[in-house]
Amino acid sequence: MSLAVSELRRTPLCDIHCQMNGKMVEFGGWHMPVQYAGVLREHHAVRTGVGLFDVSHMGEIEVIGPDAERLVNFVSTNNALRLKIGQAQYSALLYEHGGFVDDILVHKVSDTHFFICVNASNQWKDFEHIELMKLKDGFKADVVFASERYAQIAVQGPKAMATAQKLTSTDLSSIRYYWFRDGEFAGAPARIARTGYTGEDGFEVYVEPEAAGTVWNALVQAGAEFGIEPCGLGARNTLRLEAKMALYGHEITATINPFEADLAWIVKMDKGDFVGRDALEKIVRTGVSRKLVGFEMRGRGIGRDGYEVLVDGLPAGWVTSGGPSPTTNSNIGLCYLPVHQAQPGVSIQVVVRNSPVDAVTVATPFYKREK
């Protein structure tokens, strides 16, 4: 599907991206920068200094009311009952058949208020799904589509803390990884979460759309001494792939379940009933037939999204995400293989433009930051 540029959604930072020479592309119906100075440069900035991302296209759904916690725990695979106020957790929404609706980040704002960050391309689908599940079981809670209320900016990298601390009186070092706090950032009311999609330390800051420009410009200034770079979707993808983080539509889809996707850790089967649990129970009993595994190219060629994977010369699976890894200086990817081959050390071939190129399965993540 191709939309005319004028039909694409724009974030509040669109003009700033153009001013900063962002190369704009269409992404999930949004007009977004794929790069500014260059993907490799932006990638390295995040790994060694600090990078800045406009992630305002992401969706936000709020669940508010006496049954908010029960409803969230019912639609989400992870255990929402274990969250403390100010804590966040990575989770998923599943269909009753066990396939993914989306992967999500659940934040507990209060006992009766949950804040969920969801993928840009799935936000309306996710909202309708949670609403439908709520109506099915009569939970007393409001499900609010809140995306228009929030802009989101991510600041990521070893220098992200030092950069962001200049702009808030909140003691950022006291926010532990995967926790958040409501406060003020660059003079605007903000939800400051120590989360991210890069594998580095950093923050995702949620503010009103009107404040986005101010926050962005303040971060550009604050990060200047550390060589802060604005980063686009290109670097966002190379960074998350190295950190082995899933991307909806690639590693996770409606026809893939969490056990296949190597995401058993976000599924808490013993927490009680949740949407998809019955289907997952069956899968636990019968086992999965395919599983996600990392690979690294050995021959000349880059295994990319959608390329076929061969084992012993026969079609065995496909690449979900693949490309160059700037930090490890190799060509990496993730693929689905039959479960017995989906472990490190298996020789495979990736079909690159009709030619099989040698590769090998490897352990993941491909990159892990120093603690």
């Binding site: 190369k23 794929v34 790069q35 260059g38 993907v39 490799l40 440069r41 290109g234 993808n237 190379t238 000349r300 060629g301 880059i302 990319r304 490309g323 160059p324 060509n331 433009r353």
Partner: protein
């Protein structure tokens, strides 16, 4: 970056420099800029045939693969090893050091229909 007067340019952003019965083929500065960081270059084998208007190589950026079309017909006589080792040179010096292939021409190539430097610059200005 200058677009050399002695080169001819295609609508698909390749350049060709003909010297007698030999031609050198590359991609333009405009092309490398549009592609972004180049991470892989796939060149044909020496001795293989290239046909005007047909793809003969591919250039990969971080996110995408782009086909490169030959402006001339002939046989590949040399490929640029530099690009196998350091594909990023294609971003740095696309009109010079980072040529893609040299071709022994079949016949006098019909390059007069290809754009000269000034026309190509107008073409990319207008794009």
């Amino acid at each position: 970056m200058t677009y050399p007067e002695t080169y001819r340019f295609t609508k698909e952003h390749e350049w060709v420099h003909v010297e007698g019965s030999e031609a050198t083929v590359g991609i333009t500065d405009h092309a490398q800029h549009e592609l972004g960081d180049i991470v892989f270059v796939d060149l044909p084998k020496v001795g293989s045939a290239v046909i005007k208007g047909h793809t003969f190589a591919s250039v990969e950026s971080v996110k995408a693969v782009s086909d490169i079309y030959s402006p001339v017909s002939g046989e590949v006589s040399v490929i640029n090893d530099l690009l196998q080792q350091t594909p990023e040179k294609l971003n740095e010096d696309p009109h010079g050091q980072a040529w893609l292939i040299k071709v022994t021409l079949n016949a006098t190539p019909e390059i007069n229909e290809l754009m000269q430097a000034a026309d190509y610059q107008k073409y990319i200005g207008a794009e």
